[in-house]
C-alpha cells in the first residue's frame, strides 16, 4: 500500500481506530485522509499518546503546591529543591515491548525516560525501576527477568546514570504481561529549565541524533492493545537502543541548553516524529512545516508514513532561531551527532509536510492534540475484598512461617539484580539500592535528593482505593527512613483493558485513592503515565498503580543507616499489632489473597513520619518502615544477616498480628543506648514501645515470658539470598 493511498474504514480498524473515530476524522478534515495521515491520527489518538480513557480521571490529582514549577503536561514535572536548584522527574512504563523482547524493551524504556528528563534541561542523576514478573516457573519467566535486568543495566551503566532504587515483585497475574516501569530523576538550576514548545514563527526545526529506521513503527498503537498468543509476531515493533548515542545526546543537549542555543526541545518518543512535531506545535500555539526528504534515514526508500511513525531511539527535535542554526550544528558535530534542519515554525495551527517536492500531508493541530477523543468509559466500582474466616493462629510454629515468607520470591534479596547496575557513578550516592529509599547529594551541595517507588499490587487487587492510598503512605515512610520530606509524585498506572468496566472501575478507584492520599500528605502529582491493556488472552494483571515519590533533605549531615548495630536499643514507633487482611502472611503462608485492606490513618502517618525523618536527619536513630511482612521481616532486614536481637512483645498482643500484621504505618527505630532519652523525647505523644536490644547472632522474640522465635539471622538472610541467586549463573 502506498503511503499516499486514500484511507478506508478497514485500514482505520487495522490501525486500532474505531468506526466512530474514523468518522470523526472524516468530519474533522472534511475529506478522506491519506494513509500517512491516518497513521498519524491512529498514533496520536492511541490510548498511549492521548490518554483518552484516563484523562478525565487524572484531573482529580492535586497538581499544585508551593514547590511546583511545572506540573503534568510537559515531558516531566519540575519541583523546587531550594538554593536555586530544581528536580525534574517522571516515571514511564515499557511493559509491552519488554514482554516481547525483554532486553531491548527494558533498555529503551530506560532510554526514553532519560530523554524525558534531560530534554527539560536537567542532568539525569538517578534511575529507579519498578518491576513486576510472573511466577518464576511460568513460561519464559526466568528469561524475561534476566533480559530485563541486563537491558536496564547495560543502558543505565553505559550512559553513566546510577540506578539507585526500585522494587520487584512476582505474581502469576503477570505471567503473560510483565511490568517494567522506569523512573528518572534529574537536577537543574532553577533558571535552566527548557520546554517542549515550538514557538516563534520563522524559527527552524532541527533533527538531532540517530537516523530514522523502520524499527518501532506502531509502538504506540501496540501499547494500546491487549496481547494474545501472537504477541511474538510483534517483535518488529520493538525498538533497539544505543546507550552510547544517548550519552552523547545528553551531553550535547545540556551544552546546547546551557549555552542558550535552543528555543524548545523534545525527544522523539512514542509515535516518534509525529508526537514531537504535533505536541511541540500545539503547546506553543504555532504550527510547523517539515521537509521529510531531509530526515536522516537508516535505509533507502523510507516513506513519509515510516518517517513519521518510526520509533527509532535516541532522536530529538530542537527549535532554534535562524541565527543559531549554524552554532547548534557545530556543537552537534563536535559530539559526533547527526543534526540537520528539517523545517520551520509557522503561525498557522497546522503541520504541513512535504516529501520529494510534493505535499505529503497537511493536518490541523486541534483535532489531533487538544481535541483528541476523550472517553468516560463505563465503569463499575470495585467491591473491596472482605475478611475471610481465618484458621486458628495462636500456637503456630512462627519460625516455620517466617522461613516460608522469606523463601518466597516476593521477599528474595534484590541484590542479584542491583549488583548488575552501576549505583555510584556520579559520585553522589549516599544511600543506594537495598534500602527503603535512595538518597543522593545534589552536585556541589549538601542538599539531599531522595526517591522511592512503591506499590503493593496485592493490596490494590483486593481494594484498589485503599491499596493505592497505602502505596502513597509507604512512599512517605520510605523517604522518612533517609530523612527526606516528600515534595512530589510521579505515577505509572498499570491496568488491564479500560474497555472492561470492571478494570475501569479499578482504575477510577485507584486514582481516587492516590488523589486522596497525595492531598492528605500534601504531595502534588507533577508527572505520570498510564499503561492500559496489560492483559493477555483475557487475563488482566493485578491493578498496579506505581508511586514514584521524590523527597528532599535540606542539608545532609550524616549518612542514614538501614541496619542496627550491636547494643542498639530497638523501638517500635506505631501500633503493636497490624492487620492481616491483604498481608503477605495470608498470601504466602496461608495461601489466601483476602481482605480487608484498611485505609490510611493520615494523621498518625504524618506525625510518625515527621518524627522518624527528624531522628534520621539528626543521626539519632536508624529507621525502617513496617510494610510487607510486618515487624518480623523488618527485623530480619535490619539485622543485615549479621547482628541479632532480643525483642519482647507484651503478653497481651496477638503474636501473629504483632509479628506479621501490616498496614500499621509504623517504623522500627534503633539507637545507641546513650541516645535513648533523645529518641523517647522526640516520640513524645506517639505510640512508642521499647522492644529490646540488638546483639548476638539470633533473632529472638519473646511473647511475654515465652520465647516464640529463636533463629540465627544468618540463616534467615540466606533464605532471601537464594530466591534470585540464579541470576548470577543465568
Amino acid at each position: 500500500m502506498k503511503w499516499d493511498a486514500p484511507a478506508t474504514v478497514e485500514l482505520a480498524r487495522e490501525h486500532g481506530l474505531s468506526q466512530k473515530e474514523y468518522e470523526r476524522i472524516l468530519s474533522d478534515l472534511g475529506r478522506v485522509p491519506n494513509l500517512t495521515e491516518l497513521g498519524i491520527f491512529a498514533a496520536l489518538w492511541s490510548e498511549h499518546c492521548s490518554y483518552k480513557s484516563s484523562r478525565i480521571h487524572l484531573k482529580k490529582f492535586p497538581m499544585r503546591g508551593p514547590r511546583v514549577v511545572q506540573g503534568p503536561g510537559e515531558n516531566a514535572g519540575v519541583v523546587d529543591l531550594g538554593q536555586g536548584w530544581v528536580t525534574v522527574f517522571k516515571m514511564e512504563s515499557h511493559n509491552h515491548p519488554s514482554f516481547i523482547e525483554p532486553y531491548q524493551g527494558a533498555a529503551t524504556g530506560v532510554g526514553g525516560i532519560l530523554r524525558d528528563v534531560f530534554t527539560m534541561g536537567a542532568r539525569p542523576v538517578m534511575l529507579l525501576d519498578s518491576l513486576r514478573f510472573g511466577a518464576l516457573d511460568a513460561s519464559r519467566m526466568t528469561h524475561l527477568v534476566d533480559g530485563v535486568v541486563r537491558g536496564i543495566g547495560d543502558y543505565g551503566n553505559c550512559v553513566g546514570v546510577p540506578t539507585v532504587g526500585g522494587e520487584v515483585d512476582f505474581h502469576p497475574s503477570y505471567n503473560g504481561n510483565i511490568l517494567v516501569n522506569a523512573m528518572c530523576v534529574g537536577v537543574a538550576r532553577a533558571d535552566g529549565i527548557f520546554y517542549g514548545r515550538a514557538s516563534g514563527p520563522g524559527n527552524r526545526v532541527v533533527y538531532l541524533g540517530s537516523k530514522t529506521g523502520r524499527d518501532g513503527i506502531h509502538g504506540a498503537t501496540m501499547a494500546s492493545d491487549v496481547f494474545d498468543e501472537s504477541a511474538s509476531a510483534k517483535r518488529p515493533t520493538v525498538q533497539v537502543g544505543d546507550p552510547f548515542t544517548e550519552k552523547l545526546l545528553i551531553e550535547c543537549c545540556l551544552e546546547l541548553m546551557g549555552d542558550g542555543l535552543v528555543v524548545g526541545i523534545q525527544d522523539m518518543g512514542a509515535a516518534g516524529l509525529t508526537s514531537s512535531a504535533f505536541e511541540m506545535a500545539a503547546r506553543a500555539g504555532c504550527g510547523l512545516t517539515l521537509d521529510l526528504s531531509k530526515v536522516p534515514a537508516r535505509e533507502r526508500g523510507m516513506t513519509p508514513y515510516e518517517l513519521m511513525l518510526s520509533e527509532s531511539q535516541e532522536r530529538m527535535v530542537l527549535v532554534v532561531t535562524p541565527d543559531n542554526v549554524a552554532p547548534v550544528l557545530d556543537v552537534c558535530g563536535r559530539w559526533g551527532l547527526d543534526a540537520i534542519e528539517i523545517g520551520t515554525v509557522i503561525p498557522e495551527s497546522e503541520v504541513v509536510a512535504s516529501f520529494d517536492g510534493r505535499q505529503a500531508f497537511r493536518l490541523p493541530l486541534a483535532p489531533l492534540v487538544d481535541e483528541a477523543p476523550r472517553y468516560e468509559r463505563p465503569w463499575v466500582p470495585p467491591v473491596p475484598a472482605a475478611a475471610v474466616t481465618l484458621p486458628k493462629l495462636h500456637d503456630r510454629d512462627w519460625e516455620a512461617d517466617l522461613r516460608e515468607l522469606l523463601a518466597s520470591p516476593v521477599f528474595a534479596s534484590s541484590r542479584p539484580i542491583w549488583q548488575q547496575y552501576d549505583q555510584s557513578v556520579g559520585a553522589s550516592t549516599v544511600v543506594g539500592p537495598g534500602a527503603d529509599a535512595a538518597l543522593q547529594l545534589v552536585e556541589g551541595t549538601n542538599i539531599g535528593l531522595a526517591a522511592t517507588t512503591d506499590c503493593n499490587a496485592l493490596a490494590c487487587s483486593l481494594d484498589p482505593f485503599n491499596g493505592a492510598a497505602q502505596a502513597v503512605a509507604e512512599a512517605v515512610r520510605n523517604l522518612a527512613c533517609v530523612g527526606a520530606e516528600p515534595i512530589g509524585v510521579t505515577d505509572c498506572l498499570n491496568f488491564g483493558s479500560p474497555e472492561n468496566p470492571g478494570i475501569m472501575g479499578q482504575f477510577v478507584a485507584a486514582v481516587d485513592g492516590l488523589a486522596e492520599a497525595c492531598r492528605a500528605f500534601e504531595v502534588p502529582v507533577v508527572s505520570g503515565n498510564v499503561s492500559f491493556y496489560n492483559e493477555t488472552s483475557g487475563t488482566a494483571i493485578q491493578p498496579t498503580p506505581t508511586v514514584g515519590m521524590v523527597g528532599v533533605v535540606p542539608e545532609v549531615r550524616c549518612r542514614p543507616r538501614s541496619h542496627w548495630q550491636v547494643g542498639d536499643a530497638i523501638y517500635l514507633l506505631g501500633p503493636l499489632e497490624g492487620e492481616l487482611g491483604g498481608s503477605r502472611y495470608l498470601q504466602i503462608v496461608l495461601g489466601l489473597e483476602a481482605g480487608p485492606v484498611p485505609g490510611v490513618d493520615y494523621e498518625a502517618e504524618r506525625r510518625s513520619a515527621a518524627v522518624a525523618r527528624e531522628l534520621v536527619r539528626l543521626g539519632l536513630a536508624a529507621a525502617k518502615d513496617l510494610s510487607d511482612g510486618g515487624l518480623a521481616v523488618a527485623a530480619v532486614e535490619m539485622s543485615a544477616g549479621t547482628v541479632g536481637c532480643k525483642l519482647t512483645l507484651p503478653s497481651g498482643v496477638s503474636p501473629v498480628r504483632a509479628l506479621f500484621g501490616e498496614w500499621r504505618g509504623g517504623f522500627l527505630l534503633t539507637a545507641p543506648v546513650p541516645l535513648e532519652p533523645a529518641l523517647e523525647r522526640a516520640c513524645h505523644g506517639l505510640p512508642l514501645t521499647r522492644l529490646g536490644i540488638a546483639g548476638g547472632t539470633k533473632l529472638v522474640v519473646a511473647h511475654g515470658r515465652k520465647t516464640v522465635l529463636e533463629v540465627p539471622v544468618a540463616e534467615l538472610a540466606a533464605l532471601g539470598e537464594k530466591g534470585l541467586g540464579w541470576l548470577y549463573e543465568a
Binding site: 553505559c158 552510547f244 552523547l248 542491583w418 555510584s424 553522589s428
Partner: protein, 234 residues
C-alpha cells in the same frame, strides 16, 4: 595552598562516552589540584603535569573496551607524557585504555560471571614506594567500589612472570582483613590483580573507582589518598 595559579594541573581526558570524567574532575579539585578537562581530539595536554583517563564507556565499548579510545589523537600526547615519566592514572575504562595502548601489559576479559558487577571490594596495597601510592601503607586494605563488565585481567605466563619479577601488581583484591582469597576476587582477575603499575612506576591502572570515595557521606574516603598521590606527583 599558595594561590590558584600554583595548583598542580591535572588533565582529565574526555572521550565520547566517558561517564566518570565529572567525578574525576571534582575529586582532583577536592584534594587541591586544578582539574582541566581535555577533549579527546586535543593534540596536547593543555600544560598539565598529570593525567587521568577516566572511567565510562568510551565509544560505547563497541569493538572492545578502550579499543577505539586508544586511537584518539590525545593518546599521542598521553604516551609522550608517560614516556617522559609523567604520572598517569587510568581508572576502569581508563585502565582498559592503558592496556590497549600498551602502557600496561595484559588484557581484560569479561568478568567470570559474564555480568556487570557494581559493589564494594577490598584491595590490598602491594606497592607504596611510588609517588602515586605514597599516601598508602604497604599491606593497607582499601575499600572501594568496582563497576565493570570487563575487569578480569589476564596475561600470558611470560608477561605474568615479568609482572611478578618487576613488582607491577600494585593492588590486589582481598578479604576485609587483607588475605588473598578466591571468594574475594570479584571478576576472576589473574593473581587477583586489581591495579597495575608500569616498570617505571609512573603509570597506574586500576579497575576500582577511587574518585567515588572522597567523602565520608558517600561511603568513605579511601579514594582520596590515591587521587592526592596523583595530584602531588603532578
Amino acid at each position: 595552598m599558595s594561590g590558584a595559579g600554583r595548583r598542580p594541573r591535572v588533565a582529565v581526558v574526555i572521550f565520547p562516552g566517558s561517564n566518570c570524567d565529572r567525578d574525576a574532575l571534582a575529586a582532583v579539585e577536592l584534594v587541591g589540584g586544578e582539574a582541566v578537562p581535555v577533549w579527546h581530539q586535543s593534540a596536547d595536554l593543555a600544560g598539565c603535569t598529570a593525567v587521568i583517563l577516566p572511567g565510562g564507556f568510551s565509544y560505547g565499548d563497541y569493538l572492545r573496551a578502550g579499543a577505539m579510545a586508544a586511537h584518539s589523537s590525545v593518546m599521542t600526547a598521553v604516551r609522550r607524557h608517560a614516556a617522559d615519566g609523567g604520572p598517569v592514572l587510568g581508572i576502569c575504562n581508563g585502565f582498559q585504555m592503558l592496556l590497549e595502548i600498551g602502557l600496561l601489559p595484559g588484557a581484560m576479559l569479561m568478568n567470570r560471571t559474564l555480568r556487570f558487577i557494581c559493589r564494594d571490594v577490598h584491595l590490598r596495597v602491594e606497592r607504596n614506594d611510588l609517588p602515586l601510592l605514597g599516601h598508602l601503607a604497604s599491606g593497607q586494605v582499601l575499600r572501594l567500589p568496582i563497576a565493570h563488565k570487563e575487569g578480569n585481567w589476564f596475561a600470558h605466563p611470560d608477561v605474568m612472570r615479568e609482572v611478578e619479577a618487576k613488582g607491577m601488581a600494585a593492588l590486589r583484591y582481598c578479604t576485609p582483613t587483607g588475605e588473598l582469597d578466591d571468594g574475594a576476587n570479584p571478576n576472576g582477575a589473574l593473581d587477583a590483580i586489581a591495579g597495575l603499575v608500569n616498570v617505571q612506576g609512573n603509570v597506574l591502572g586500576m579497575m576500582p573507582h577511587p574518585e567515588r570515595r572522597m567523602r565520608a557521606l558517600l561511603g568513605g574516603e579511601d579514594g582520596a589518598a590515591l587521587i592526592r598521590g596523583l595530584v602531588e606527583a603532578a
